[in-house]
């Protein structure tokens, strides 16, 4: 199994530099004016980041209050006995519940964990991996089926939630193995 973890670490180190070099080179080969195109696309980035502010402020206020009031610790100590034997940090468990329900809420929760325990702690790494590896199932279902007037979603919700659950535990196990 060891080579597999090394692969995962290698991907982390190489993927982004590879894309930064490969994409412009490929585009130049296709006669795309790379720098002008970059500037054109980059303009959208500002708006994308700014549009998140209201969502993130709203959710960060709620989560930050939740932690400061002591409610988060109470909740964690309630769940702890269930997962302590497995070596899973119980702090990340509420994230598993939150992730399929609200994108901004789980992002705020992840941020709070990163802020409290540090981005390079095991909790910070696991939370980052969970947040990055699945999408907000409920939101995707509402938007996609709502757009075409589907009222009965059959088994779609179950499939989405099942994959969230698998992704959640996969993220924990992979992080525990790779970052041990």
């Amino acid at each position: 199994m060891r080579p597999l973890y090394e692969w995962i670490t290698t991907i982390s180190a190489w993927l982004i530099p590879f894309m930064i070099v490969f994409i412009p080179l490929y585009a130049a080969f296709k006669k795309v004016p790379v720098y002008e195109t970059f500037i054109e696309g980059a303009k959208d980035g500002f708006g994308t980041a700014i549009n998140i502010i209201p969502h993130l402020v709203g959710m960060m206020v709620a989560i930050s209050m939740f932690r400061a009031s002591g409610a988060m610790d109470m909740m964690a100590s309630l769940i702890r006995p269930l997962f302590d034997g497995l070596g899973i940090p119980s702090e990340v468990l509420p994230l598993g519940l939150l992730r399929p329900l609200t994108g901004a809420g789980s992002l705020a929760f992840t941020t709070e964990l990163i802020k409290t325990y540090g981005p390079d702690s095991m909790i910070g790494r696991i939370a980052s991996t969970i947040q990055g590896s699945t999408d907000t199932t409920l939101y995707v279902l509402t938007v996609y089926f709502g757009a075409v007037g589907i009222r009965r979603s059959k088994y779609a919700l179950k499939v989405g939630l099942f994959s969230d659950l698998v992704g959640f535990f996969a993220a924990i196990v992979i992080c525990l193995l790779v970052f041990e």
Binding site: G105, R152, G160, I174
Partner: protein, 230 residues
């Protein structure tokens, strides 16, 4: 749903603050949280501006189409009932390739266009077809190559290696997607072999559902492919 979750956190915080005698800390935390929200969003600007610029280069170079071509066999396998050359397949491929590159803003409109095309093939306009459920499964588990938002947040809180979660995220997202595809396949075959249930108030709609979803011409081919998978 979001309304309830938000309210839940705020209301429970208030009660817990009373129980723990932390009312002053609560006020501080509310404003501290608002500040963090802005700090994190501003931290996103650098990564988003850079990444969307890079991705525009990729788009203009036809990289999305290139990925779409690579995905073609997988998509034919996942959507056996959609006739070859149907516009839905093109939109599904664009949706998937935009998702892989982390272009959520481009992926959603493509996904909705794909849904609209699949709706044209759907005999019951209010019940999701098998193909629609598959498309949804792919989007809820969404494979993403680079989790840009998380890298930005980790940078904001001064991580020594902001990108060290790229590999673990990719591995977890692949497993989640595999689980989604397997579950989707399982439900598809179950629906195909099981007679329709009569408990619903609209039994006729269930009959429509049990029939092949594709137009008559392509139905045979689609069915055959679906069976071969089991």
């Amino acid at each position: 749903m979001v309304n309830y979750i938000w309210l839940f956190f705020i209301a429970v915080s208030f009660i817990a603050a009373i129980a723990n005698g932390r009312m002053e800390a609560l006020t501080e935390a509310a404003f501290e949280g608002a500040k963090s929200g802005v700090t994190v969003s501003f931290g996103l600007i650098s990564v988003m501006v850079f990444w969307l610029g890079l991705m525009r280069i990729g788009e203009d170079a036809g990289l999305l189409r290139k990925i779409a071509v690579l995905l073609q066999p997988a998509i034919r396998f996942l959507f056996p009932e959609v006739p070859k050359g149907h516009p839905a397949l093109g939109y599904i491929m664009s949706n998937m390739s935009a998702n892989i590159l982390g272009l959520g803003n481009a992926a959603t409109p493509m996904g909705i266009k794909a849904m609209q095309e699949l709706q044209k093939l759907n005999p019951d306009k209010e019940t999701a077809s098998a193909a629609m459920c598959t498309l949804l499964a792919l989007n809820t588990s969404s494979i993403t190559l680079v989790p840009t938002t998380l890298i930005a947040i980790r940078m904001t809180y001064s991580s020594a290696h902001p990108a060290e979660i790229v590999g673990t995220t990719l591995a977890a997202t692949l497993i989640a997607t595999a689980a989604a595809i397997l579950a989707d396949r399982w439900y598809r075959t179950r629906d195909k072999h099981k007679p329709p249930k009569w408990t619903d108030t609209h039994p006729s709609k269930h009959w429509a559902d049990a029939k092949p979803q594709a137009p008559p011409g392509s139905a045979a081919g689609g069915q055959g492919k679906g069976e071969a998978v089991v």
